[in-house]
């Protein structure tokens, strides 16, 4: 296994890998600046079989493994009793009826598949591009770098690098971390090379374990993921967005001051967009079946004003 970078090295990446000012003082897109219209157009050419695969968990109410707070659903009106003659439903008297609900959730955490906006994390009191952390407030939420930065969604080439498959295991051991060498070996095995503007999805196999164990799944445990050493590689390749079947970072990372280096350096310094908790079992099976590890990737976050991310349903289209 490669030697992990020192803490001093990781801390130096806040400066060395910084994209602050690279795309202007008011930039809100961060690494999505690598995604060009030509890239989006060429990614559409990857749709040949007409197969679409979701990379999202179901959002369920009740206690779920890894949920910070249980997701809530309150029905405001339902169909209950509407078979009874004369019962008034949502749409008043007559033959029409309907249902509606309130939903609430904390999507950050280890349960919900979600996109982190660039307002999600701070380092030394700053967000990406030097914006002060105090611009995220109780009253107004995120005044800078909310998820509206990607209102138009993301459509580009997606690439699955299946590290569990590369290792020949169902799921990576918690102390088996993913290094740039692994990403490159997986590229070679898949016959692809990550390019600027691509979305990288990396599979550890953890989602297979979670799906199999259901409510017995223990989310509070060490886990594999991208080792911090991947940060310069992601920077050099110009990756626009990363996702995986874990919350990106290995745990424990082994650093005193920066416990989630992919999140901290990635979001704050690089402006890198992260999609946490993507189940990748169906995608891996489809890639295997088609022997194709690149696809059109599509993601459309909900247009929440002032919110630090969004639950999302990333799609891989073949």
């Amino acid at each position: 296994m490669p030697t992990p970078p020192s803490e001093e090295q990781v801390l130096s990446w806040f400066d060395d890998l910084s994209n602050w000012g690279r795309w202007g003082e008011d930039d809100r897109l961060g690494t999505l600046n690598h995604l060009t219209p030509a890239k989006t157009a060429s990614a559409a050419q990857l749709v040949r079989e007409g197969i679409s695969v979701s990379c999202s968990y179901d959002i369920r109410t009740g206690r779920q493994p890894g949920a910070t707070v249980e997701s809530q659903r309150y029905m405001l009106s339902t169909g209950l009793g509407l078979e009874e003659e004369g019962r008034q439903g949502l749409m008043g008297r007559g033959r029409a009826g309907g249902a509606q609900e309130y939903i609430g959730m904390v999507f950050h955490g280890y349960d919900v598949t979600h996109l982190d906006s660039l307002a999600h994390l701070f380092w030394d009191g700053k967000m990406y591009n030097g914006q002060p952390a105090s611009l995220v407030s109780d009253r107004q939420g995120a005044l800078k770098h909310d998820v509206l930065a990607v209102s138009n969604g993301v459509s580009t080439r997606g690439v699955l690098l299946d590290i569990a498959r590369l290792r020949g295991v169902d799921v990576l051991a918690p102390d088996d971390h993913v290094y740039p060498e692994d990403l490159e070996a997986a590229e070679e095995a898949a016959g692809v090379r990550l390019e600027p503007g691509d979305v990288l999805l990396m599979r550890t196999g953890e989602s297979g374990a979670r799906l199999a164990q259901k409510k017995d799944y223990n989310p509070n445990k060490p886990r594999s993921g991208y080792q911090a050493a991947c940060l310069p590689w992601l920077h050099e390749r110009g990756i626009s967005m990363i996702g995986s079947d874990v919350a990106q970072d290995v745990s424990p990372a082994g650093y005193r001051t920066v416990t989630m280096p992919i999140h901290m350096v990635g979001i704050v310094a690089m402006g890198l967009w992260l999609i946490d908790n993507c189940p990748l079992e169906d995608l891996a099976a489809t890639c295997n079946r088609l022997n194709r590890w690149e696809f059109q990737f599509a993601l459309a976050p909900i247009r929440f004003q002032g919110v630090t991310g969004s639950p999302t349903n990333p799609l891989a289209v073949f």
Partner: protein, 165 residues
């Protein structure tokens, strides 16, 4: 082997472990809660009122506010130890000052200054763990308020020692 560093290592389980983690977090002291299991006291399902000391310990930094929607009675704050742990556990997982590793243990414990060193393991993988301070809640009293008060007292002692050191 990766070394896991933490300000405060907490083992022993029960409501006192989570209370200690959240009180420490309020003082920005990072903690690692290892092998937490819910307390198995005889009355874990029955709501009990928190005493003044426990309320005072949990009120700063909004810890009591986290529990408020789940109180059986608002004043005095009343809830079962089971609910206390269920709610606070999720809060600990979301708290960036707290790391929670269930189904693990710290073996080969040995003093290191005022803290502790040992081996964190899930039975197969292993990590060195190094903590500036250590709290074992396995000897905490069963009563919810008593456990919270003991946790607050232990965290205060840790902070005092760190400030002195």
């Amino acid at each position: 082997m990766v070394t896991v560093w933490t300000g405060l290592l907490i083992v022993g389980g029960g409501p006192g472990a989570l209370a200690a983690a959240e009180i420490a977090s309020g003082y920005r002291l990072p903690s690692l809660v290892v092998g937490h299991e819910a307390g198995k006291g005889p009355n874990a399902e029955f709501p009990v009122a928190l005493d003044g000391g426990a309320v005072a310990a949990l009120t700063p930094h909004g810890v009591l506010d986290v529990l408020r929607p789940y109180l059986a009675v608002a004043d005095p704050p009343t809830l079962s130890p089971h609910v206390f742990e269920d709610i606070l556990k999720h809060h600990c997982v979301a708290d960036m000052n707290v790391t929670v590793y269930d189904a693990m243990e710290v073996t080969d414990r040995r003093p290191a200054g005022a803290g502790l060193r040992g081996t964190l393991t899930d039975g197969s993988a292993r990590w060195d763990v190094e903590a500036e301070a250590f709290i074992d809640t396995s000897g905490y009293p069963d009563g919810l308020s008593d456990a919270v008060n003991r946790a607050a007292s232990d965290v205060r002692a840790v902070l005092k020692r760190m400030q002195a050191g």
